[in-house]
Subunit: 490 residues, 2 copies
């Protein structure tokens, strides 16, 4: 059975010794995020992920989700309890506003915890991750009334969130969306249509599910300019959050997938479901992209997470498995063979994965800090620079880290020889789970188009030029250090 | 549901228009392999693979193999009948000697058919492939009596073959083998020990299974120099091939694997099983490597096969799936969107897979021809050159084609977006099945060691120098053609 240890020390080193997280302690949220506090938070989060999430990873894969005849969906044994522990610990709302019950910490801390949760149990972590994305969309685009109704429930984890974009005939090309919304004259709409690939679309973990749905209001323009965003709860709530009638939205089927079996991936049928507009009419795509961008960063973190947990298990196996002798003579002559870590190809493979993981984690945290600064700084220049950096790095984090993260999971699996192909060892699950991250929230080819077609040329290349300037500046500032490192490594 | 069309025209083009297969028509076997005959053979084989093997690929993956309480193993529905059709058509013995009931055709033709069978249903094709490998080992190392007893049954496909190398504590490092063989004084041995990862170790498709087993004769030297090869049939046959008592070898468990679910991968327990020595005492590893080298080429072909069937389905999907518009303006304006093949990234991906597949197929067939010539030529120089080429190319074909073949299956899956992750589309099965080819018959890191540590330096680099010379010669002979191609492509 595979194991997992959250890299708390690595995270702290990056945050405080490399990235200067504490330089921003004048900003809201950051003030409460001193090194000691963050260390305690990360250690507590790590414990929960290691002890509560990770032991359910393989059993959740084996058991998967089941749709009952009435459309209800049961999640694997233990998922409900583990999610509840995560929610009650305040982990879903770590970075959410205190006015809605959140902890008000920087998103950077949440990004670190999300890495641990995804590494421990990606399928389970997704229920919380999607809720965080839906929270972000409602914070930015919801009305005050909507925020007051939905956010406290989602932040405390008694309701989860989903994003409903894809339809059978369209995923990347959302202009083709057919799902219809008909205004009812009382401010509400009736939504009719079918959505597919809806992660956490139906489950038994919470009393309600908040669906954010893209649909076309009757008479709206064709294409992407006629798409609006709606909130359609599974159970219709009163203004006080009390639960009323079941809404006309239901899970028609569960998808059979290569991996993340513990996550309920649903076909959702909207049969005149009651819904309310979020943000402006026909501006739904822009609003949904708040959630999408949040999700893309989260998916990049999933790539890192699978790469890291696969690495940890491969490194442990390589130190344990005795097979063959070192080319330079027996290293453990008393044993029947040397551990395979003596072989250069094994070391090269493991080190290349480790090096990537450390760089990827640094990129994720650096970008998360820039994003936090963009959200809360009062300096317009700093805000803009942070936004630019986030925009530029989102497709890179999503595309590169998930591509290489998958490759790394495959490489780590290879270290096990034939045992890597056997389910009990858990390595093949990391590969199957990691595979989806290259696909969802915009397949990686779409990330490349976003980077080259939009992010690089935007504002005359301001974001990429600022990035180059920062890198150049760092190199110049550290020219001497670099020189001394070079000589010491000789 | 995925589909498959065997590339008969491509195979014929390579054999006759590129590789000069008919230049060898003076050699035994080749004389019967004129273009018309081979075309008929390939078309018949293609038909069987497409109509009998391919429709069982997904059902076999879903159903898998089942071990009953008594140790019997049932294969997925339809596998028994499809294997029987393959056997009765003479496909297993396509390249086997006519004196034992084989067709006596060049192995090259069998390699082409094996590609089709593996692409159509890798798990099912393995039962035949392993039998072919065991036939090859017995032909070279078996006694006349053993050949007479086993070969006709295996060639006609009423008995299948296996190779038993791996034990729980050793795979790559076979010097650690613990399985014991005790001589009984009557020329037979009793074998005791446990073997794991034994493909087709137990099944319900044939009346008998011929296990080739590596074991250590009591008192033999330690390490690889004390390993012998044995034949241990599941049911003990009389000299006339009639079936007698059940031998003390049984399937203790089936492995739960990432893919090739239709292939029964067994833990095999030898509890004093009756067995006979194949070849010389303590020379078992060399004898098994006959089967192993055959198997490595076969595994390389599996990489090509999965790459090709994944490509075929991705190309068909890309022409069918409407999503987005061409960057250079709508290509199918009457439709709601253009087929995704209009997108440069989709075309680049598909073409890069196709280009690799064509090159890989050429390398496989070229090497197969050189191998055939090495087997049957009377010119010692030609034999040696063929052997050199086979030895050099075996780790390359096994390592490179399975690595890239897997990557290609992943790329082809990516063309489907979210649908690629859904089991019904079949793309994720190609990825899962292709993954094992990088691992078994020597993990690809071992292939690299074989190439660099053994094959390149062997005989003062004779094989690689001959290869370079051949490539140089080809380039010089075609210098003019190359020039004209260059200008015409401008």
């Amino acid at each position: 059975m595979p194991s997992y240890k959250a890299p708390v020390a690595d995270t702290l080193f990056l945050l405080y010794d490399v990235l200067g997280f504490d330089r921003h302690s004048n900003l809201p949220g950051f003030a409460d995020a001193g090194r000691d506090t963050v260390e305690t938070i990360l250690e507590e989060g790590a414990k929960l992920c290691e002890k509560s999430f990770q032991p359910l990873n393989r059993s959740g894969d084996l058991q998967g989700c089941v749709r009952l005849a009435n459309g209800d969906v049961t999640t694997p044994n233990g998922f409900k309890e583990a999610f509840k522990a995560f929610a009650e610990g305040g982990w879903i709302g770590l970075a959410a506003g205190p006015e809605y019950g959140g902890q008000g910490l920087p998103h950077t801390v949440a990004a670190a915890i999300n890495e641990y949760a995804s590494a421990a149990n990606m399928a389970l972590a997704m229920y919380a991750g999607l809720t965080q994305g839906a929270i972000a969309a409602l914070v930015l685009h919801g009305s005050d009334e909507q925020k007051k109704l939905y956010l406290p429930k989602m932040i405390e984890g008694s309701w989860t969130g989903t994003m409903n974009l894809t339809e059978p005939h369209c995923g990347t090309d959302l202009g083709l969306i057919k799902t219809k919304a008909v205004p009812q004259g009382d401010g509400s709409y009736k939504i009719t249509g079918q959505k597919i690939f809806i992660s956490a679309g139906e489950h038994d973990m919470t009393e309600n599910i908040v669906h954010l749905v893209l649909a076309r209001i009757e008479g709206a323009p064709e294409g992407t300019k006629g798409i609006s965003l709606f909130v359609a709860p599974k159970v219709l709530p009163g203004a006080d959050g009390s639960l009323g009638e079941r809404n006309a939205v239901s899970c028609g089927a569960l998808e059979h997938k290569m991996g993340i079996h513990g996550n309920s991936t649903c076909v959702m049928n909207y049969d005149g479901a009651t819904a309310w507009l979020v943000g402006e009419e026909n501006r739904g795509l822009a609003a949904m992209f708040t959630m999408m961008n949040e999700a893309r960063l989260g998916v990049g973190v999933q790539g890192l997470a699978q790469s890291d947990v696969a690495y940890q298990n491969a490194a442990a196996y390589a130190k344990d498995r005795l097979q063959g002798r070192s080319l330079t003579g027996a290293k453990e002559a008393a044993k029947p063979a040397d551990p395979i870590i003596v072989h250069p190809d094994v070391r090269r493979t493991l080190l290349s994965i480790k090096a990537f993981n450390e760089a990827a984690r640094a990129l994720v945290l650096w970008t998360a800090i820039r994003g936090d600064v963009a959200h809360v700084s009062e300096d317009p220049k700093e805000r803009q620079a942070g936004e630019d950096h986030m925009g530029l790095m989102t497709p890179i984090i999503k595309g590169v880290i998930t591509d290489v993260g998958f490759d790394n999971a495959v490489k780590a699996q290879q270290m096990f020889g034939g045992h890597g192909y056997i389910a009990e060892w858990g390595m093949e699950q990391f590969v199957r789970d990691a595979r989806i991250a290259m696909i969802y929230e915009g397949a990686n080819g779409v990330q490349a188009m976003d980077l080259v077609g939009r992010k690089l040329p935007r504002d005359g290349g301001r974001a990429i030029m600022a990035f180059f300037k920062e890198v150049d500046g760092f190199l110049k500032d550290n020219a001497e250090t670099q020189g001394s490192n070079r000589s010491s490594s000789r």
